[in-house]
């Protein structure tokens, strides 16, 4: 009787069982996580397409499809203004924050002055 090392034992385990142990479970985890990730998003999409316009009459998979809600967004609300406001606020705050940080970072990294270390630490 020959001794069976780990290598031979692994060689015996072949086919679907081996695939399941090494790769298959990864697909299983990924499928579950994707389902968890997507079902609220599908629900929102389904609600957007729902002609009744209520969440309580919405299922995960759309039962009836209408584009009315999307049309209403542009015809009944100042959606363009909301959109411009969002861009304006995001843009201005991003530019202001980056601009101020660049100025301060330049001074801290390229120059040596009294209170540099204290200033940097208190800023952090």
């Amino acid at each position: 009787m020959t001794r069976r090392g780990p290598a031979t034992r692994r060689a015996v385990e072949r086919g679907p069982a081996r695939w399941l142990r090494r790769v298959g479970w990864r697909h299983g985890v990924a499928w579950l996580a994707v389902a968890f990730s997507l079902f609220p998003i599908l629900f929102v999409l389904s609600a957007a397409l729902n002609p009744l316009g209520t969440l309580s009459s919405t299922e995960v998979v759309p039962t009836a499809v209408t584009g009315d809600n999307f049309a209403d967004l542009f015809s009944r609300t100042p959606f363009e203004m909301w959109y411009l406001n969002s861009i304006l606020i995001a843009g201005v705050s991003a530019f202001a924050a980056v601009g101020l940080s660049i100025l301060a970072a330049y001074a801290f990294s390229r120059m040596r002055f009294a209170g540099r270390r204290v200033g940097l630490l208190s800023l952090l």
Partner: protein, 537 residues
Amino acid sequence: MATQHVAPPTPRKRDEAQTAVQVWAAPRSAGVGGQIGKIVLLGLVAAIAFWGAFPLVEAGAWVALGILVAVTALIFYVYLSGRHIPVKYLLPGTLFLIAFQVVPVLYTVSTAFTNFGDGHRGTKQDAIVAIQTSSVTQVPGSAEYGLTVATTGDPATGPLVFLLVAPDGAVFAGDSDGLEPLAAGAVTVSAGRVTRADDYTVLNLGQASARSAELTQFGVPTANGAIRASGVSRAYEGQAARRYDRSCDCVVETATGQRWVADAAVGSFVNSAGERLPQGWRVNVGLANFTRVVTDPAIAGPFFSTLVWNFAFAIGSVLVTFALGLGCALALHSTRVRGRNIYRILLVLPYAMPSFAMLLVWRDMFNVDFGLVNRLFDLDVDWLGSPWSARVAVILVQLWLGYPYMFLVSTGALQAIPSELTEAAEMDGAGVWQRFRAVTLPLLLVALSPLLIASFAYNFNNFNAIYLTTEGGPFPADNPSVGATDLLITYTYRLAFGGSGAQYGFAAAISFYVFLIVAVISAISFRSTRRQEEVYG
């Protein structure tokens, strides 16, 4: 943290640095464009300063004006002198930091030492006027006026003004400061009422009735009492039932002789039975707000249970999101998984959805009658109605919102771990769990613990996650001020702006406690991660 790793400057480096300073300090021609830009920007600063100065002068806010002048002078000095080069770069950031970080914190702390809130908003004089005006009643023979409701601002929101025509035909404008006679030429009077007046916008019947709640509260103080509206076209001068008496520093009810003596320690008028008048004034109460959190049993119990849940929520959110995110990252950390890029894209989609909207969607999905969760799994759980299921629900929502982020950072950190290390461990006979526990996890934590701490600090004050889903509820029947899922921040918000009357001073004291807790925890954990880095790094 990064500063810890900066080596002390070698002599050579110091030389270089000094040369750099010298290069900078040398007079430079900034170029015509630069000069023009500088002139334009400084002109803009001067313009803003002038624009801000006039209202301050008008309001007599001399301290604020002094600060404005000092800051403007500082800006001009720094940018017009050739010296102090680093300050030129640091000044804008520092000014904004002071204006938007330091000042609000200082204001919060100073508010925490006062009784500022509903009934304690203004000065003692304001309180006396309010008490006298609100106690006005109509007595036989009191003067009647023709009333026209007007405003100096927008008809729907501007400050109210009463345009009054006295029985003898004289015309007055009255606001909360008192009566002021109007010149006959500035108004048009018809049928005993003002129909038009210079400088005032007359409200029509609809606009006036829309503000009827305000009108019934409004009074124009006079020597004997106040002029109050009865309807929208008549007003009467009534007698104050309660009068302030300077000699005893108290409020006396004329009919009964009952008196409420001013108590400067609490900012209220108090009678012999200890009852307070609702209108008080703002006073400094010292540490009372801070000690009240600990000593008042009606506050201390809920405060500590909220604190415990707040920790559980923050730690729980971080742990479950990290566990699931890391699990997914590990599962997909293998080139043998076909289509893993598609998996990754689908997994991080929740991160791309606006969290505000998704929190509201989740709230509706947990609805007991119509919610998707109950319908999908055929359950009948009142998710947001009982304390523990509500807690589970908010953590579940946090998990959905937060794990894609943890998945992203874990994937990145896993890819940065050299595969030689796990392979070496495998050679040494370590099993899957041992390899993960002894090699992968410690190396991951070195990179990720600052992120986990930041996530903890963020979730500790995650106002939206609670307020948009449960609003802090469910509330116990005997205490509607604090609910089962309340975080300290939502509890504070309800104290400050809730329906049962604002208590800004007390809310500010609690915010200060929250600030202390988060600051201490962050400091301790960052210190311990630095030690960890020294071990593994």
